[in-house]
């Protein structure tokens, strides 16, 4: 059974069209990340699943039960959906102790005191903070508050745990630590987790599946690996890269003659194998390759192009080398500490299977039938 099924979700918030027809399925036990820049609707979607936001159209099905139906204006109470939510601000009640914060939901459900105590302590144990039970949220550090917020969410053993940018208020070191904690928690609890973030690195580290949103639409939902290697649109491709290592993009024109498709760019021509020569192969295209898929050689090797070093940006364990081939600039991410003098000539080659090709007009990836993108050597060696 699917944990969550979203069908044609449309949501307007204060006359603004926030979600525009979202279709998505989350399988039981998945760790799904909703990823996207701020304002893309990912938090709204999370709130719609939780029931805090009413939808205008579409349906939400949780564990086989329909919990919201826009057509009937039906919305099941958030508390009855079997979901828990960890808020971005944690939303810990400042006037209650950690124990009471965690116990609140159970107290409201009128469970016996002894049982509440047991469940609360178990939840605090799971988050490894049993010693904080009698403290107030104001006395805790950000990381500890985070743990309390999660403990409060898991104490009712929800079938689905929703997390809204839970790590965004933590410093870098704590964030890494909490990521590991979340992964452990997911393993131990086996709960389905839906996680909202705008940090693509976090999404890739944590999830079994990443859903990327832009402007209220779901653009791509895939495993982190597929998403990273083959982003469906240029927008996703740009977003998945880090700002330190911007994506290399080269514009070109695709032509098909005699059943063979070729892309000519400023870096030379590339042959598209398996391209069926259809209309989608023709026209203006953009070729992308990530900096780590650009390999630099000191000596000429097969399939490489001569480039001139412009800039070297060491970052400890790796180095970003910026090179130029004529007017075209490229970034190459090289493991280790390399020091090349600016102006020096090197040879660059690309990991063929990592090159992606996009339609310049629509920004969509051309995937129909393209199996490999091979540089045409003769052209490059000119």
């Amino acid at each position: 059974m699917n944990a969550i099924e979203l069908r044609q979700i449309q949501v307007h918030v204060q006359q603004k069209h926030i979600l525009k027809g979202i279709n998505m399925t989350v399988e039981e036990g998945d760790f799904v990340t909703l990823l996207g820049p701020s304002g893309c609707g990912k938090t709204t979607l999370l709130r719609t699943i939780a029931g805090l936001q009413k939808l205008n159209e579409g349906t939400v099905v949780i564990s086989g039960n329909k919990v919201a139906d826009g057509n009937l204006a039906y919305h099941l109470d958030p508390a009855k959906r079997g979901v828990s939510l960890v808020f971005q601000s944690y939303a810990l009640w400042p006037h209650m102790t950690v124990f009471d914060n965690v116990a609140f939901g159970l107290q409201v459900r009128k469970q016996p005191k002894a049982e509440i105590r047991k469940s609360v302590m178990a939840a605090l144990d799971k988050m490894r903070i049993p010693e904080l039970a009698d403290r107030y949220p104001g006395e805790l550090s950000g990381g500890q508050q985070q743990r309390v917020a999660i403990a409060r969410a898991i104490v009712t053993s929800p079938s689905i745990l929703l997390l809204d940018e839970p790590l965004s208020n933590l410093d870098a070191k704590l964030r890494t630590e909490m990521r590991a904690e979340l992964k452990r928690l997911h393993r131990e609890l086996g709960t389905t987790i839906v996680y909202v973030t705008h940090d693509q690195h976090e999404a890739i580290t944590l999830s079994t599946k990443v859903a990327v949103f832009f402007g209220g639409e779901l653009v791509q939902a895939d495993t982190p690996r597929v998403l990273y290697r083959h982003p469906r649109t240029l927008q996703v491709a740009e977003f998945m890269g880090s700002s330190d290592h911007p994506l290399n993009r080269v514009e070109g024109v695709c032509r098909t003659s005699g059943g063979v498709s070729t892309v000519s760019t400023a870096l030379g021509s590339f042959r598209l194998a398996g391209m069926n020569g259809g209309a989608d192969g023709a026209g203006a295209v953009v070729l992308t390759v990530r900096p780590e898929d650009v390999v630099l050689h000191e000596n000429r090797t097969a399939g490489s192009i001569p480039v001139k070093v412009e800039d070297v940006l060491p970052a400890g364990g790796e180095t970003l080398v910026r090179v130029a081939y004529g007017q075209e600039k490229l970034g190459a991410r090289v493991i280790g500490d390399h020091d090349y003098a600016p102006g020096r000539m090197l040879y660059a080659s690309f990991r063929e299977e990592r090159i992606n090709l996009y339609d310049r007009e629509t920004g969509r990836r051309l995937e129909t039938g393209v199996t490999t993108i091979t540089p045409i050597l003769e052209e490059i060696q000119r």
């Binding site: 057509n71 204006a73 039906y74 919305h75 939303a91 609140f104 939901g105």
Partner: protein, 608 residues
């Protein structure tokens, strides 16, 4: 529960919408709030306006042209253009405007000066000065008038003359003893505290770096004041000016004590005497005039400020404030200010207290001291046999009434403020939330004495399921709650604003009903603001005068109206005894709140 098969889609959708709306606390509270506001504010005001345009049965004795139930402009022309217009309308209006403007100007000078001294200079004794500045607020404004009379009363109105005449044998002239001058002075002293708190808050939140930046740019001290500080303070100064203007224009207690002996009438006192002489409709016209003046004042305030209101919160951060060194003026300034405060806050109090022990005014000889006015029995030679206050059943009744009224009204007002504030804060993007916000501000435009005038006619007879409330304590509680709405709803809304919606949503996910959320989250989290609202309403109700003076009947006598009764009879010592008791209660409640509730009155006042 979900779409039963017998229902079609449209029906199911409609049913679900209704169910959601009925279970949404926001709609329920909002709807209840709107009903309450419509009945206690909108309807009465419309009623009042209507009443000035129709003939009444009792008008038949004024003119044969009266045609009960039909429309007429008779009342308006009688008030505005007849041989009695000058004394009934124009003179009181002019007097009120003159008093309003003068009091605001004087308070501005006192209040701003004090605020600057306390927040921006290195004057010592800041805490003492601030504390002393709050005292006049705790005292009823007419206590100062009473003290004034004790000093400056001359033989004109009979009874024992004031200290000046009996001790120094100087007869104070009428202009000094009664009328414009003392009214303006006592009101200014009392109202400066609002200025002090409003401007003080703005000054202390203004970043010194703004001034320093101007100094760096080469501006001199005066230029910095004129071009940086003053424009930044303008919004708070203007707000303070309007606040005090509206308060002064509609004040009743002070002009009643100091104005009536020399026939110096303001709108409020004329309104009261018109009501007393059964000129109800004329009184209504006066009410509308008073409301119009208040509205115009606020309208001009908004116009002048335009979009600049946001200056009040210059920065939210408590940034470093550099204090202006006063040099050799440091000590004199502190001592002078403190002494001045003592003179206006403490001395009158002591004089009045002392007077309660004097058998005859003005004589300090040992055999003149007595406890008669506190505990004595009936003595036909003194005050025509009126008993000492603590022996007097009327006093005990008034004390009980006052405590009940202030107690119930303050709790109700604070809770209603919180509930309405919830509707305002959570519904700030809905038409309903805005309507609740705006309607609950309307009582601000209605001077207390006008509101009372409206309520008398409105609650004189039973309407629907609401019985005739006139003559009950309920109506006094109700009017107090309604009159305080502008303040309590603002305070409640601000408190609710500070509680992030996600704190509540977290509880929703936990399965808590709205009542549970209110009881376990909203109430404890807004405790401080609730307590401040409670204290302010309680203190206000304890010293309330203009709002209830027309509504009380012998059965619902309160401490304040009792003092007025004694004043009218000329029983000075008895008046002062009751006054002392009112002050004792107010101060005790305030002290308890500060000690146990950590309430901060100075913060609460700023929001008023």
């Amino acid at each position: 529960m979900l779409h039963k098969p017998v229902l079609n889609t449209w029906q199911a959708r409609w049913l679900n919408r209704c169910r959601d709306a009925l279970r949404n606390p926001l709609y329920l509270i909002g709807a209840a709030a709107l009903l309450f506001l419509a009945y206690t504010i909108v309807w009465p005001v419309l009623n009042l306006i209507w009443s000035t345009f129709v003939w009444k049965t009792q008008d038949a004795r004024l003119t044969p042209a009266a045609d009960p139930g039909h429309l007429t402009l008779y009342h308006w022309s009688r008030v505005l253009a007849s041989d009695m217009s000058w004394s009934l309308f124009y003179k009181p209006v002019l007097n009120a405007l003159a008093v309003g403007v003068t009091v605001s100007a004087l308070s501005m000078v006192f209040g701003c000066g004090l605020a600057w001294l306390v927040t921006r200079t290195d004057v010592p004794l800041k805490k003492t000065i601030t504390f002393l500045a709050i005292i006049p607020y705790l005292l009823p404004s007419w206590m100062l008038s009473q003290a004034w009379l004790t000093f400056f009363k001359n033989s004109k109105i009979g009874g024992t003359p004031g200290i000046l005449q009996s001790v120094l044998h100087v007869t104070p002239p009428d202009w000094l003893a009664y009328g414009f001058v003392p009214i303006v002075l006592t009101l200014s002293i009392h109202d400066s505290v609002y200025f002090f708190l409003l401007v003080g808050a703005a000054l202390s939140s203004m970043n010194s770096q703004l001034e320093e930046a101007a100094e760096m740019a080469g501006a001199g001290r005066m230029q910095v004041l004129r071009r940086i500080v003053f424009p930044l303070m303008l919004p708070s100064v203007l707000s303070g000016f309007i606040l005090i203007f509206t308060k002064a224009v509609s004040s009743y207690g002070v002009p009643a004590l100091l104005g009536t002996p020399v026939n110096f009438y303001m709108i409020s006192t004329m309104l009261y005497s018109s009501m007393r002489s059964r000129l109800t409709t004329e009184a209504n016209v006066l009410s509308l005039t008073l409301m119009l003046i208040t509205m115009l004042a606020i309208y001009f305030n908004q116009r002048l400020l335009g979009g600049r209101r946001s200056y009040v919160t210059v920065t939210g951060k408590g940034s470093a404030v550099t204090h202006v060194p006063l040099g050799k003026w440091r000590l004199p300034a502190a001592v002078g200010t403190a002494a001045g405060m003592v003179l206006i806050a403490v001395v009158p109090f002591i004089v009045l207290l002392l007077q309660t022990f004097l058998l005859k005014d003005g004589s300090l000889s040992p055999d003149n001291f007595t406890l008669h006015y506190w505990t004595g029995g009936s003595d036909p030679d003194i005050n025509t046999g009126e008993k000492g206050v603590l022996q007097n059943p009327i006093f005990l009744l008034a004390l009980k009434n006052s405590m009940i009224i202030a107690g119930i009204a303050s709790v109700t007002a604070a809770v209603i403020g919180l509930l309405f504030g919830y509707a305002v804060a959570r519904g700030k993007n809905t038409a309903m939330g805005r309507l609740v916000d705006q309607l609950s501000f309307v009582p601000y435009f209605i001077p207390g004495i006008s509101l009372a005038a409206i309520y008398i006619t409105m609650f004189a007879k039973p309407v629907l399921f609401i019985p005739a409330l006139y003559g009950t304590i309920t109506i006094i509680i109700l009017i107090t709650v309604v009159k305080e709405l502008p303040f309590t709803v603002k305070a409640g809304g601000a408190a609710m604003m500070q509680i992030g919606p996600e704190l509540e949503e977290a509880a929703v996910l936990g399965g808590a009903s709205w009542f549970t959320r209110f009881r376990r989250l909203l109430l404890p989290l807004s405790r401080k603001s609730l307590l401040s609202a409670f204290i302010l309403v309680f203190i206000g109700a304890m010293k309330e005068m203009e709002l209830i003076i027309m509504l009380v009947t012998p059965r619902t006598e309160t401490l304040t109206t009792l003092t007025f009764y004694y004043v009218e009879k000329g029983y000075d010592q008895l008046t002062n005894v009751v006054l002392m008791i009112i002050i004792a209660i107010v101060v005790a409640v305030y002290a308890l709140a500060v000690k146990f509730g950590k309430a901060d009155l100075t913060k609460g006042l700023g929001g008023q």
